[in-house]
């Protein structure tokens, strides 16, 4: 449905600009955007993964959504796709990872 515009384009440039904006309105919102800053539980599959910042440096927060995935989705999680299968095949995959953001290299699941 098109809303009645309260700003009316008069000249051709103005119309071209408004046309540019068509379809720009947000239809999805990544979970990390907007308050609350951190989603609880699962991340979406297009989130940047832990691999985006392998260095032990800031921004550590870069990884946090995926970091949350590991403890959040493992075990009894209903959506285990993004984490090692902690129910059957890799039961102890995070045993060496007291802090998954720091110790993610210790994850064992292959």
């Amino acid at each position: 449905m098109t809303r009645k515009k309260s700003i009316k384009a008069l000249n051709q440039k103005a119309r071209a600009i408004q046309k540019l904006a068509e379809g720009e309105t947000k239809s999805v919102e990544a979970l990390q955007q907007g308050p609350p800053a951190m989603p609880v539980g699962c991340t979406t599959i297009f989130d940047t993964g832990w691999e985006t910042n392998p260095r032990p440096s800031n921004p550590v927060g870069n990884c946090q959504a995926s970091v949350k995935d590991f403890p959040g989705c493992a075990g009894d999680c209903w959506w285990p796709a993004q984490v090692p299968d902690g129910l059957t095949n890799h039961e102890d995959f995070d045993k060496q990872c007291a802090n998954i953001a720091r110790d993610w290299r210790e994850i064992k699941y292959d």
């Binding site: 309260s6 700003i7 009316k8 008069l10 440039k13 103005a14 408004q18 955007q33 907007g34």
Partner: protein, 465 residues
């Protein structure tokens, strides 16, 4: 995190009971509803806005300003501007000063009675032909180019005019390019033979006339002091009747005559000119500088004619007033200018002895000469001349809402005011801004009725000229 938003440079105009907003960078024009105007007033004092801290209702009311690019994501630096340089652009228009001589002695002439400060000179036909070839060979991908036959009085040198037309046909034809000619004449030398030639060559003619006899003759006498009005009018009917292209009156008025603008327009359109364009005189001497009252009188005349333009447009007709037509066509498209005019870019002038200048107004001023027909256009000289004239101007214009419509104004007018008369920068800005504001409001009025739909093809076509 959503990025912060910042207001793009914009100007709000009150127009009747509505408000308009002009987006400066884009030359875009919008009309605001009362609600949108309230939103703008509420938020525009805040330099930046953080969408994460706004209430959903506020965000929604601001969204349309984002869609209009009046509110934009805050970017750390402006996008780079891609800009051509003088002398590095394909030629589109060449002014041929075929006759640096004139049979009139107009009292405001910037060209030293047509000679441009030298001795009377006529361009020889060979130089005329070489100039045409130069234009055609340096016109890049342009399929159409324009030659302006100019002077002095160009009809004092028919051989050079005819040579140019002939070369355009033969050489232009062999390259698959078309040359459009226009000619600015004082109208005193028009004979049936010359008129037939102009018509056959489809040359657009502009006749310099300044209005009713009293005004015209006081401005434009013959060398012996006789007025030139009667002689021009005697030739005019034949010119107007048979012309395949519109014939324009080109008017120059001194500040003392500015209050007579409407009278002058009515007189000349009454003579049957297809269009009438008015130029306030260039201040070639301090006595031709206008007072503020004179500027205001001229603006009132423009306002009257703009009002009449709207009345005619409502009835599906076009008032043949070139100034407002040109301005409206630019506003219609939303053309944002990065440079003031084409001088030195696609537009050059060549004088009677074959020397290049950035435009016809600079002819004969050696500090602005940029090469000659033998060596070609000297880009470095061209850039140096225009660069020196405009040093720092971009910065001084950077805070003006009208900068993308004006872009600094006429180089020659600036040169006269700043270098010749020693005035500070910006003495014509107030007048120019008032004129542009009048155009914006006239355009908005045109859009509020059905007239814009009727005018659309006309304004589009005009914008391409």
């Amino acid at each position: 995190m959503n990025s912060r938003l910042a207001w793009a440079d914009h100007r709000v105009f009150e127009h009747g009971d509505e408000h308009l907003v002009f987006g400066v960078e884009d030359a875009s024009l919008f009309a605001l509803s009362d609600a949108a105007h309230r939103t703008l007033r509420q938020w525009r004092r805040q330099r930046t806005l953080d969408p994460d801290r706004l209430q959903p209702a506020d965000l929604e009311s601001l969204q349309e300003f984002c869609d209009a690019r009046i509110l934009r994501p805050l970017s750390p630096k402006a996008a780079p501007v891609c800009r051509a340089e003088p002398g590095r652009t394909a030629l589109a228009t060449l002014v041929l000063e075929v006759a640096q001589d004139c049979n009139l002695r107009c009292n405001y002439c910037y060209a030293g009675d047509g000679t441009y400060g030298g001795s009377p000179t006529l361009m020889d036909p060979a130089t005329s032909r070489r100039s045409l070839r130069y234009l055609l060979e340096h016109s890049g991908d342009h399929e159409h180019v324009t030659v302006i036959l100019f002077g002095g009085e160009p009809l004092l040198n028919l051989p050079a005019v005819q040579a140019a037309v002939d070369e355009a046909d033969s050489y232009g034809g062999s390259l698959g390019k078309k040359v459009h000619f226009s000619l600015t004449t004082n109208g005193t030398l028009l004979s049936p033979e010359i008129i037939r030639f102009l018509n056959d060559a489809r040359i657009s003619v502009a006749v310099s006339m300044d209005g009713p006899p009293a005004i015209h003759d006081s401005n434009r006498p013959h060398a012996d002091g006789r007025g030139s009005y009667a002689g021009i009018v005697a030739n005019l009917k034949a010119l107007l009747d048979g012309a395949p292209m519109p014939v324009a009156a080109r008017v120059t008025l001194t500040p003392a005559q500015w209050a007579s603008l409407v009278e002058v327009f009515d007189h000349l359109s009454g003579l049957g000119f297809h269009e009438v364009g008015v130029a306030p005189v260039s201040p070639v001497c301090a006595s031709l500088l206008p007072s503020r009252e004179q500027e205001d009188a001229l603006m009132r005349g423009f306002e009257t004619l703009a009002g009449r333009f709207l009345d005619e447009a409502a009835m599906g007709r076009i008032l043949p007033f070139s100034n407002i037509i040109d301005l409206l066509s630019r506003l219609h498209g939303g053309h944002a200018k990065g440079i003031a005019c084409g001088a030195g870019y696609g537009y050059m002038a060549i004088d009677a002895s074959g020397r290049f200048f950035p435009c016809h107004r600079f002819t004969g001023m050696t500090e602005f000469q940029a090469g000659d027909i033998g060596t070609g256009i000297d880009g470095a000289r061209l850039r140096a001349g225009l660069g020196e004239l405009n040093e720092g101007r971009e910065e001084s214009c950077s805070r003006c809402w009208a900068r993308t419509l004006c872009a600094g104004g006429c180089h020659y007018e600036n040169h006269l005011r700043e270098n010749q008369l020693g005035l500070p920068r910006g003495t014509s800005c107030r007048f120019i801004r008032n004129w542009l504001e009048l155009g914006i409001k006239t355009y908005a009025s045109l859009c509020s009725g059905d007239a814009i739909r009727v005018m659309n093809p006309f304004l589009n076509k005009r914008a391409q000229c």
